[in-house]
């Protein structure tokens, strides 16, 4: 398989996690500009676990994602008391704070005569687990997609469950949701924790693919893109954000002839869709239509 293609597909897979994370919060009616913070926290935490503490990859990844989820819940408890725009600003501020903390965060140990670990703004080098264990790029890509498939299955189960509809109810009318007996703040914190976990899985995968993370890549543009993916692809199904990622990373960023115009095309696409399909290509109406079609065919 062509190296460039493997790289692009791996990127699509990884970014899909943070897109799904932002999507989950859009479903509960909150716009977060800060999901890159949980991506970053897990990239560092899982990298520290495998490269410095000698953990295996899977426990390291699980640890990174768990730390990200815990951080998300901790952030959620104070910030979800504020609503709408103020929540968005608070997430943005938190994410920038996390990035700036990593700019000064130094924690290094000596391994085989070399210093390994986060070194402030110079970043965190040599997260070499997949190379030391002879995992090829194709194998790693398959691992990414295996995990993505598992997370997607979880999303589809969620969408069919009562919990999933509680999230959608809160997103559509929190007062009415309350009148159905739902503790809105508690479920929003749950959603934020789950979103942190999903972003964290992506962050851990990212750190081990690139072997090198530096604070500046976790800037606000990553958060803005992950929000836009759901808004482009649609908020009616978890496939929506994946379509957004595929359009942006798979098409605009990866085809050399047009990558120079990526931001122009991407921004234009967002603007056009916000006017004509404010809830994305696969919005709730489209998803319901498809669902009814499928059911009728089976019946």
């Amino acid at each position: 398989m062509d190296d460039h293609l493997v790289g692009v597909l791996s990127n699509i897979g990884m970014i899909s996690f943070i897109a799904l994370s932002a999507y989950l919060l859009l479903i509960v009616g909150e716009i977060s500009f800060g999901q890159q913070a949980f991506f970053a926290i897990s990239a560092y935490a899982s990298g520290i676990a495998t490269a410095m503490w000698g953990w295996d990859f899977w426990p390291g990844l699980a640890w990174g994602a768990a730390v990200a989820a815990a951080a998300a819940v901790l952030v959620g408890i104070p910030t979800l008391r504020i609503r709408g725009l103020y929540f968005s600003i608070a997430t943005l501020a938190f994410a920038e704070m996390v990035r700036l903390v990593f700019e000064v965060f130094k924690y290094q140990v000596e391994i085989d005569g070399e210093m390994v670990g986060p070194d402030g703004s110079d970043g965190f080098r040599d997260i070499r687990y997949i190379f030391e264990n002879d995992i090829t790029a194709v194998e790693y890509m398959l691992m990414i997609y295996g995990l993505l498939a598992a997370v997607l299955c979880a999303f589809f189960l969620l969408e069919r469950s009562r919990l999933g509809s509680i999230f959608r109810m809160i997103g559509q009318d929190p007062v009415l949701a309350q009148m159905q007996g739902i503790d809105v703040t508690a479920y929003k914190i749950l959603a934020l924790g789950m979103a942190g976990l999903v972003a964290g899985i992506g962050g851990g995968l990212y750190a081990h693919l690139t072997t090198f993370v530096e604070p500046k890549i976790f800037n606000v543009m990553l958060g803005v893109h992950s929000l836009a993916y759901g808004l482009i692809g649609g908020l009616g199904t978890a496939f929506g954000p994946l379509i957004g990622v595929a359009i942006d990373i798979g098409f605009l960023e990866s085809i050399r002839a047009i990558s120079g115009y990526r931001m122009i095309a991407f921004g234009g696409l967002v603007a056009v869709l916000l006017i004509f399909r404010p809830r994305g290509l696969l919005d709730e109406a489209a998803v319901n239509w498809i669902r009814l079609r499928l059911r009728r065919r089976h019946a």
Binding site: I166, D173, Q180, G181, I182, E284
Partner: protein
């Protein structure tokens, strides 16, 4: 069932409720009437915890609920509909009613994610039964936002009933309906909403109040100005005055 004592709710300097007393017994159905702005909907909002009371007491089955959160209050057996129609527009008609079951006492926490087949099947049948009764079965899988107004009102009723409330608050359940639709709504409320539970109905259509309620309470400026059997109250001078005003005295 519901006891309201000296209830005050202020919005800035405006007293939407100015010392209201109201007592509703078990199984009673009470009509709440009064001019616009007399505090009827505010009372529903305070009873369901959407607005905390400024002062005074609200007791539900003897327990004080004045400071409780809305979800706690409604989970102890209260359901309501909204005058200005609130539905989950991007959920289907079926899902709107199904949603009302999520936090019902007979649905365990784990069933929010892992449904138990038999129990879930029975609950879904219950939803379909309610849709059948309210005449919405043929719109079952449509997104609720696309329904015409009378259907949305019936959907609200079905959703409120799906919570199996002991106290049901109906806020202008026939608002904006034609006479024929109103008559159908009256039959629905009389046949499936009122039996076996306590009901409070806000309504401007007196014919509806006469048909549905044992007792009427008239509110004006956040206070109760009259109370009693519908026939008597609707002839009361103070009520007529509150609604249509009084001729100005000759010397004014």
């Amino acid at each position: 069932m519901l006891d309201v004592e000296r209830l005050v709710r202020k919005f800035g300097a405006v007293e939407a409720l100015a010392g209201l007393d109201l007592s509703v017994g078990d199984g009673e159905s009470v009509g709440l009437i009064g001019p616009n702005g007399s505090g009827k909907t505010t009372l529903f909002n305070v009873v369901t915890g959407v607005y905390p009371p400024t002062s005074g007491n609200v007791r539900l089955e003897g327990r004080d609920i004045g400071a409780s959160k809305p979800d706690r209050i409604v989970n102890s057996g209260v359901a309501r509909t909204f005058q200005n129609l609130r539905i989950f527009e991007r959920l289907t008609v079926f899902e709107n009613v199904w949603a009302a079951q999520h936090r019902r006492a007979d649905v365990a926490m784990r069933e929010l994610v892992f449904a138990r087949r038999a129990a879930e099947h029975a609950r879904r049948e219950e939803v379909d039964g309610l849709l059948e009764l309210t005449g919405l079965a043929n719109r079952r899988d449509a997104l609720a936002g696309g329904l015409p107004l009378p259907d949305q009102r019936r959907l609200e009723l079905a959703r409120a009933l799906a919570r199996r409330p002991r106290l049901l608050l109906l806020d202008e359940p026939a608002g904006g309906m034609t006479p024929a639709e109103t008559e159908q709504m009256v039959r629905l409320i009389r046949d499936i909403a009122i039996p076996g539970r306590t009901c409070i109905v806000i309504e401007h259509k007196m014919e509806m109040i006469r048909n549905l309620c044992d007792r009427v309470c008239v509110l004006d400026f956040g206070r109760k100005i009259a109370e009693g059997a519908p026939e008597a109250v609707l002839r009361d001078d103070r009520v007529i005055e509150a609604y249509i005003g009084r001729e100005a005295p000759a010397d004014a």
